[in-house]
């Protein structure tokens, strides 16, 4: 069993095995994403209160969900990398961080853009917004640490440890920020009032969420492949690939 995991998780094996996965994930992401967008932009009814501006929800919410999802993936694979010393897991974690940061950023930007028509301001110090901002900093911290340490093995383990510590903290952060908000009288001016979701909106929303996850899967595989090529640049299997080119 152990040997099997070892072999299966070797970068070399992963490199050759991931090609079909990438292809199928990419195609699925594209198809589902396009269909979801179509439903979201053309089929879903116009909101009686917000007009068409609400349609940004089909980007905003999947991006926000994905951002949190990716952090979990990153922390878990960093943990696997540290505990069982599986290099592939470290690579997955390292490859996930920039994607996660991008989606966090996307959620923040789409949220702000949406906030302007909704609340009349781009930003309020609301619990959800704040914890999203903190999530962005957690990602940035991971990436900064990863790039600041020269020795690749130390960089992986150190930033992996940070990801885990961050994961332990996320519930605490979430709880404290949430709680802070309930005591937060001032912000009630701009209440976070979610539109009651109509089924015609819910379906495209869920489709977009699935498409986003598939897109992440595609990206993380591609990035992990690149990582593994780069990190094993001196090993024979990479040299052989390069020679074939």
């Amino acid at each position: 069993m152990w040997n099997w995991i070892q072999r299966f998780s070797s970068p070399k094996h992963f490199y050759s095995m991931s090609v079909p996965l990438i292809k199928w994930f990419a195609i699925a992401a594209l198809v589902i994403g396009l269909y979801g967008l179509y439903l979201g932009l053309f089929v879903a009814p116009t909101d009686y209160k917000q007009g068409d501006s609400y349609r940004i929800i089909f980007i905003h919410v999947p991006a926000a969900w994905l951002a949190m999802f990716i952090y979990m993936v990153m922390a878990v694979s960093a943990g696997i990398g540290i505990i069982w010393r599986i290099r592939l897991a470290d690579m997955v974690a390292a490859a996930s961080a920039p994607i996660g940061a991008s989606f966090t950023f996307l959620a923040l930007v789409t949220g702000s853009l949406w906030g302007k028509p909704m609340w009349g301001t781009y930003w309020i110090w609301d619990a959800r917004l704040t914890s999203m901002l903190i999530l962005l900093f957690l990602y940035l911290g991971y990436m900064a640490l990863q790039s600041a340490i020269d020795d690749q093995r130390s960089a992986d383990k150190a930033s992996g440890l940070l990801a885990i510590v961050g994961a332990v903290n996320i519930p605490i952060i979430h709880y404290s920020v949430e709680w802070w908000n309930t005591l937060h009288q001032g912000a009630s001016v701009a209440k976070f009032d979610a539109p009651s979701i109509h089924i015609d909106m819910l379906i495209p929303l869920l489709l977009m969420a699935v498409a986003f996850k598939l897109f992440y899967a595609t990206m993380v595989l591609v990035r992990t492949r690149n990582e593994s090529l780069y990190r094993d640049r001196n090993r024979r299997w990479v040299r052989e690939i390069v020679e074939k080119l």
Binding site: I134, F137, L138, L140, G141, A144, L145, A148, I149, D151, S154, K157, A158, S159, L161, L162, I164, V165, G166, V168, N169, I172, I173, Y175, S176, V177, W179, W180, L183
Partner: protein, 223 residues
């Protein structure tokens, strides 16, 4: 093992006591930053009172953050950290000693001086009391979590600001609960919830942070 803990603690305290300026410094930084705000914001007395808990807590947090380097950085640079890692004693114990020394040298003085600053910023007596409690529970967590950050960045050149990037997000819950407790207390409401939360976090940090920190040291100090 207890001896090793004690010796290292004494060594670190002595090192700091030798540089008297260093001893007073987190404190002075704390006071200076607290005074910067009224200068910059020029608030009305009531506004000042509303700001006070937050400002005091943020300043305390920054004072601790700035002095975190003390925990391991110097030791890394002059090679003493190698010797600590080659000690037959468990590294966790040594890390704990260093963290305790750090807290005694930064956190504790802040706790002691805080009432004075609270009075300056016209906090009520109850609020001042809660301020002291919240700092007493919160600053050790700052030192403990900070130690993880320092261990992770110890081999990084100019790691100072990288450290704050890593650490500040982790500090935010403490900040929110600490400042909030004082705020709530100054409106005369009970704050057991907040203080319990802070105690829980302290217990968690106390049990996990030294371990995480010593693992981090073994990873990063390899050169």
């Amino acid at each position: 093992m207890l001896k090793a803990f004690y010796h290292l603690l004494i060594r670190d305290l002595r090192l700091a006591l030798r540089n008297r300026h260093e001893l007073a410094n987190p404190l002075i930084f704390f006071i200076l930053v607290v005074t910067l705000f009224p200068l910059a914001v020029m608030p009305t007395p009531e506004a000042l009172q509303t700001m006070a808990p937050g400002v005091i807590w943020v300043s305390a947090l920054l004072a601790v953050l700035l002095s975190l380097d003390r925990i391991f950085k110097q030791d890394y640079e002059d090679g003493s950290l190698d010797q600590l890692m080659l000690s037959p004693n468990p590294l966790v114990i040594l890390v704990l000693a260093k963290v305790l020394a750090h807290w005694l040298l930064t956190g504790l003085p802040l706790v002691i001086i805080a009432p004075l600053l609270g009075l300056f910023m016209s906090l009520s007596a109850e609020a001042v009391e809660v301020l002291v409690y919240s700092l007493l529970l919160g600053t050790p967590v700052l030192s403990l979590v900070g130690a993880i950050g320092v261990s992770l960045t110890v081999s990084v050149n100019h790691g100072g600001v990288l450290l704050s990037l890593i650490i500040l997000p982790l500090y935010i819950p403490i900040l929110i609960f600490g400042a909030n407790a004082v705020d709530v207390a100054s409106s005369g409401l009970p704050v057991t919830g907040q203080l319990l939360f802070l105690s829980a976090v302290l217990a968690l940090a106390l049990s996990l942070a030294p371990l995480a920190s010593s693992v981090a040291l073994r990873i990063t100090a390899s050169r």
